[in-house]
Structure formats: structure tokens, C-alpha cells
Symmetry: D2
Subunit: 241 residues, 4 copies
Amino acid sequence: MSREPRVTVWNEFRHEQANPKVAEIYPRGIHEALAGPLRAVGLEVATATLDEPEHGLDRRRLDATDVLVWWGHRAHDEVADEIVQRVRQRVLDGMGLVALHSAHFSKIFKTLMGTGCDLKWREAGERERLWVVDPTHPIVAGLPEQIVIEHEEMYGEHFDIPPPDELFLVSWFRGGEVFRSGCTWRRGQGRIAYLRPGHETYPTYHNAQIQMLILNAVRWAAPVGAATPRRGNQQPQEELG
Amino acid sequence: MSREPRVTVWNEFRHEQANPKVAEIYPRGIHEALAGPLRAVGLEVATATLDEPEHGLDRRRLDATDVLVWWGHRAHDEVADEIVQRVRQRVLDGMGLVALHSAHFSKIFKTLMGTGCDLKWREAGERERLWVVDPTHPIVAGLPEQIVIEHEEMYGEHFDIPPPDELFLVSWFRGGEVFRSGCTWRRGQGRIAYLRPGHETYPTYHNAQIQMLILNAVRWAAPVGAATPRRGNQQPQEELG
Amino acid sequence: MSREPRVTVWNEFRHEQANPKVAEIYPRGIHEALAGPLRAVGLEVATATLDEPEHGLDRRRLDATDVLVWWGHRAHDEVADEIVQRVRQRVLDGMGLVALHSAHFSKIFKTLMGTGCDLKWREAGERERLWVVDPTHPIVAGLPEQIVIEHEEMYGEHFDIPPPDELFLVSWFRGGEVFRSGCTWRRGQGRIAYLRPGHETYPTYHNAQIQMLILNAVRWAAPVGAATPRRGNQQPQEELG
Amino acid sequence: MSREPRVTVWNEFRHEQANPKVAEIYPRGIHEALAGPLRAVGLEVATATLDEPEHGLDRRRLDATDVLVWWGHRAHDEVADEIVQRVRQRVLDGMGLVALHSAHFSKIFKTLMGTGCDLKWREAGERERLWVVDPTHPIVAGLPEQIVIEHEEMYGEHFDIPPPDELFLVSWFRGGEVFRSGCTWRRGQGRIAYLRPGHETYPTYHNAQIQMLILNAVRWAAPVGAATPRRGNQQPQEELG
């Protein structure tokens, strides 16, 4: 709680190289766009991408990570199962995870949720309004009661997730859908947040309010420092008499 | 679980007498419009209204009620505190409560929630889309994934309620707002459901899907038949040795 | 909600054949001990065991199952991954799952939870007291505020599960531990309940209160009959204008 | 999140003056015993007691309070309803509340919960074991998986509270009961924590682990700084067209 979390931003980093439109919006990659605002407030932030060895997520990197931010979309299947299991174990052991936008369909998110994680979607650049439904939640600190994004991909319900432990944002879309856009869950000793916005063809991660949302989520997801529970066969605490 | 709950539908019954537009939609009162579809499937349904003695909620009536359905709007303040306390105690003792639409601001709902229960609103007859966000919930049994109401009053977030135990419907409104429209809470031994739709100037309670929603909520809110917990000073279960 | 669910009781069925003590308590197998009380109230109950072809869980069997009851312990690893995936998909599609005792460590339970599902344990035949902490829950219908089991295996916290959607039973053990013994979760369209008691070397499933708990859980977990959500690419509901 | 919360510790302060045994344990009052460890880490802490004018809770004091810690027992009824309403409004407006032990029966806690808040109890100085059931919760930061208190009053289920938003501690008592001892709820913009331990005749608040629990709860309950939601009649965000 006292010191700032050490962050690794993971990005698939494929759209930026394949699609000039995306490259124009995020010339240094989505990971750098995400890392910048976190670094600007003093956080220690590393990046990792799909095409690095071990996707940039070797044990040393994960051991030095308090919170992992995840963005992926078209290449979820290329993430090696072995790495997914490694990341999953780190989350269960206490590393925070902030899953962004299309990361809803990443292997790591799906395996931690236990559900299909599918949803409705539409790429029509329509207006999104994210309404705060829990004004006590630290992830909406410093933000207004509504965030408006002029052009975004639509995600609609039913979002096939377990009922979130906390729901703090619900999106309205111009075309008629709603979506649970800000959610949290606990898994093992790890804290997980999902934030909906961030389709690669819109400059969403340059929006200062979305940047603040992500910063808040990173701080929220940081390990709290509780004891690791003992498990397995136990002697009685009291005489069984 | 086996037998059907005995229901009392409580209605303020003032708009119908003061506003010809409402009287035209609900000539026998909102309470009769609500009671009809419940009776049609065989439930035993009584009605009670504000201007009856004790608002129609004497002890005998409440003792014979498994689930109370509540509709009120302009005269919340005229409900006597003594009756509110009586209803509250019955809920804590196991009677179900289904609060409809503007009942969000009723004394009985507010005292059971512990919050202000205020919200945004607008009477513009705009389109509402109620999306199912929990397809495992019994209250949406037999319903499609979306209920569309062409003309309704808008209710918008933040709805000042405790985070619901279960959230199964989220509304989209044409004018840009969202709302947690189907929620449940537990209080004492009682089960409470809130269903948003039903402004008095629209024929919402003649909508078969809304009628089914209310029927499902009534069945869901019925007492489950668990033991009444003992409380107060207790002898030990085990020797303290 | 109207008709009774069709049940399949799955049992590993190994202890009964390898350990005379268990065979004496459950001469026809734990599955028959579980099925009996369900049949006695009129439910249609099939059984399936590990050593049958496809573990007795071929598609036809699963398609004809509304609620699957699962008991396994020493041979979790022998359950084929393909069958686990098949059962998981049926749960996400709406089949209920009631996981009993050591099923906490079954592949199907772990994959639906997304966590490690480990816990503390001790086989000392000590007293367990299951206290009702939610007297509004249908699974404790007809039961007293406390169920006492004279001899059981101890399970202790931390139980590595996602925070349950509903917690209705907490166990006290003579040796000093507590445990969240009655829990529910939603996954996809499926409803999942976990009930702690039932170590194979004690006659727990002959206890009428535990039998009622399981019957209640089966009814609670039955599919509710809500619409299957549509997902994927969608046309707008409203003109995007 | 950045600066430490300003705290007011409220204490009934009657037992200490009437019962020499309590006076011996808490010679300067329970409020000073609670305030000390908070001040020791640098928090700004005021105290207030029942017999001060306005119970020490005038508007100026409340306006300067980020988190209110509450201890009361024998004189709940002497707290003026007007002051309770004032405190309640401050909680709904964002002030945190940490309710300790017998504060479960205080007017302020009961009005915010909406339930009876009764429980089982026994004064037998028996052993309590508080087990962590959520190792991701900030309120158990820095604490072991179990806190043992050699002599405490017993509180047992059913504790008549709304299902907590978060449950992080469950107590085991020597005499056979369990209790949900660490819980949180949200009300309006305010965050509320309940911590069970602290009967006046035992030196529980001199226990360093309990002191840390309270410090963590105070920090957790601090206002997050989200926007105050607007409510009431609203113009549409979008053209209703």
C-alpha cells in the first residue's frame, strides 16, 4: 500500500505493425502509449510483447512485476499455454492483472474467469458513455460521473463473465447496447480488474480520463501484502480431546 | 418452494383518481393491473391501498402475505411510520418484497436499503431497452435477452442503492443513460427485488413481458422456509474446558 | 421451475471397491447413497462412474441431465480432459453442478472456478458444526440453524475459491478451524453449488439433514429457462445517425 | 489515496467510568487506546464521546473527519436521533465508518444496514481464532492467516446483517460458534467496515494485530475522491429525435 507497484505492460503489438491506421495512432505501440502515463506519475514500468522470447514474460520479469497490464486482440491463440500457466500462477500468488478491452478473450483472462468471456461487438465508431455505478470505488477516483468517448467499438451484453465482485462502470452505446465496462474479481491472492475501452483503431488510450482509469486500476490491483495461506494436511489448533 | 406464495399488491392509488390519462390506462387501478396476471396463473392475490384504514396493511393482512408488491409515487410521505415499521419487521421475519418503479423512493424501500435511493429521471416517453446481464437468474425465466419498452420514464445512474446481491437487468435509454433495473437484496430472513419499469402514464403493466418479470420476482421473493435463527445470550455448544 | 430437474450423480466409485470400511458404509457406492433420497421424492436420477466408457458422461447422458452431482477424490487425474471440457460446456450452456466434498479438487470444479481450490485438511473424525449464515437461501430450506456431524474430515480456510456469489453455510471444527461449506457461483448460464460434507469413511450421506441439503442444492441448480444470449457481431438496435 | 485520512474515534466512554475492571484495562478510555496506534503512524486523530455536547459530533467535527471509528455498547439509546441522522448523511456523502464490536447494535450501524443486526453472544472469556478468508483484502495487509485472542466475548451466527460486499475474517470460538468478523459494505459514497473484536473487559485493543487491523480498516474506509453523482430531473444527453 505504501510503495507504488512495479508494472509490466504486455501488448500483442501486431496491429500497429500491420495496419497503418493503428500505427498512426500508436506509432510506438499500444504498450508505450499505456506505459507513458504510468511512468509520468513515477511508476516503474516495463513492457513486453508477443514476439519477444517467452513473449517477454520470463520468470525474472514476472517475479519483478506487481501488476501486469494486458492488451491483446488478434493473436490470442499465439500466446503459449506454458506462458499462460506461468502468468496464471503469478496472479494466484498475488500479482495484479489489469485486462484491457479485447483482452476479454485472452487465454489468461478466460482461464482465470472460468467462463467463455464472449460478448456482442460492432465496429461502427459510435459514441460510448461510461457511467459510474459505484462512486465508492478507488478505480474511479478523480473522475467525473460520466466518461464520454466519441468513437469506439461497441461491446454489448451478455458479457459471459462470472458476476463481478465489484461493478463500477456501465457503458451506454449509441446503437442501443449496454455493457459492464469496469469490473473486478479476486483469484487466489491476486486482484483482477477489467476495463472495456481501447479498440486499436481509435485514440482511446490518449484520453486523459482513460489514462487515469488505468492508473487507478493498476494501483488497486497491487498486492496488499497479506500472509500466504498455508494449505494441506494440518495438526489441530486445539486438543481434540 | 412447493406451494405458490400468497401475494398482497399495495398501490398508492392516487394518480388513477387524479389524472384522467392514468385512469384511462389503469381504469381499475395499478393494483388491479398488477394483480390480474398473478391471479391468472393461480396465485392468491389481495390488494391494499393508501387510503384504506392502516393503508390496508393491518397485521392480519401482513401475516397472511408471503410476498408484498409495492407501487407508490407521489404520496410516499403519507405512509405512516408505524405501518412502515410493521412492514419492515415482516420483511425481516421472512416476507418477500417486490418494489416497483417509483417505489425506489418509498419509506419501506429506503429503510431496508439504508441509503438515499435517489436517481436521475426524465419524463420524455423515450425508448427503454432492458438487457439481461445474468441469464442464470430465475427472475428472467421465460424472457428474451432484451425487453424493449417504446415509451417510459427515464431513470439514470447513479442509483443510490447498496451494491445489489444480484444484478440481472440493466436498462439503456434513448437519451443516453443506463440504469440497474433488476436487482435483489437480502434483509434478515426476507428477500427483496427491485424492478424499474412502470411509470403511471404509460401502459407498461399491460406488457406481457413485464407481467412475467413481476410474476417471476414474486415467486423468487417467497419465503424459503429456513429456520428462524436464535439470537441473544447462549450457552456454549462445547465444554469450554 | 415448474418440473423437477433430471439428475445425474457422478461418483468416482473407487474407495468403495478398495477400502472395506468405505464399502461397509456405502455398499452400493456413494452414487447410490446420493441417488436414493433424490429418487425418494420423485426425481429422475441416473448415475455415472469413472470406469464406465466416457466415465458414463457421453453426450446423450449430459444432454438428458439438468443437474450433475459430482463426488470424486483419489482419481481426479484419471478424468479425461475431453470429458471435463464436455461437462464444462454443458454447465456454461445451463446444466447445474453440485460439487460435493473432495470434488473441490476435481478438474471440472477447478476449471470453472479459475483458482487452485486447495484448502487445509485433517482426517481425525472430529465434530463439525455447519452454521447457517444466510437464512434466506433456498438451499437451507427446511433445515435448522445448525447441522452437527459427529465425525468428519476437517477442511479449513483459506479455501482457494473465488469469493462465492452466495455463502450460506460456515463450518466450525473441533480442532480450531472454520470453512465456507455452502457456496454458490454462476458460470455462463449454469448454476454451481458447493457443499463440503461427505468424507468417504464417515456415514455422512446417510444423514437426513445432509440429504435435504443436497436435494435443495439440486433444485436450486436447475436451469431457470432464460434465453440463451446472442453473441458476436451485431447490427445496431438504433440508427447510428 | 495519497494523503492519510483524518480520523475521529468515537467512544461511549461509560464502562471505563463505571467498571473498575474496564478502567484498569483502558485507564484513559477505549477512545485513547484506539487513537494511540493511529497517531503513532502519523494520522491526525480526534476523539469524541457520548457525554460531550452533541456527543462531540458537531458539524465542524464531522466535516473535518474522513473516517469515523465507533465504539459503543450499553448506551446506544442515548445517542440522539438527530446526531445519528447527521452522521448517516456524512457517511452517504463519503465519510468512512469503522464499526467495532458492540457497535453492531448502534443506531448508526443499524440504520445504514437496514437490518436488525442482532447475534448470539456469551461472556465467558473464551478463545477466539480469526481466520483470513480473503487474502486479497487490504484490511488484512501485514497480518498472519490467523489472529488468536485468548479471551474474548463470543459472538455467533446468525449475525443479522445484509450479506457483506466483502468478507475477509471468520471467527472460530472455543464454545462452538462461528462469526463473520470482518466485513465491508458501501452506502452512498461512504465505505463501511465492521470488525468484531473488542469487548471492554478484555485488553483486545492493546493487541498489536488488532491495532493493525483497525489501522488498515481506517485507510480502507477513507473517501476515494470520486465525483458526487448528480441526481434529479435531467436533460437528455442525446437528441431524443
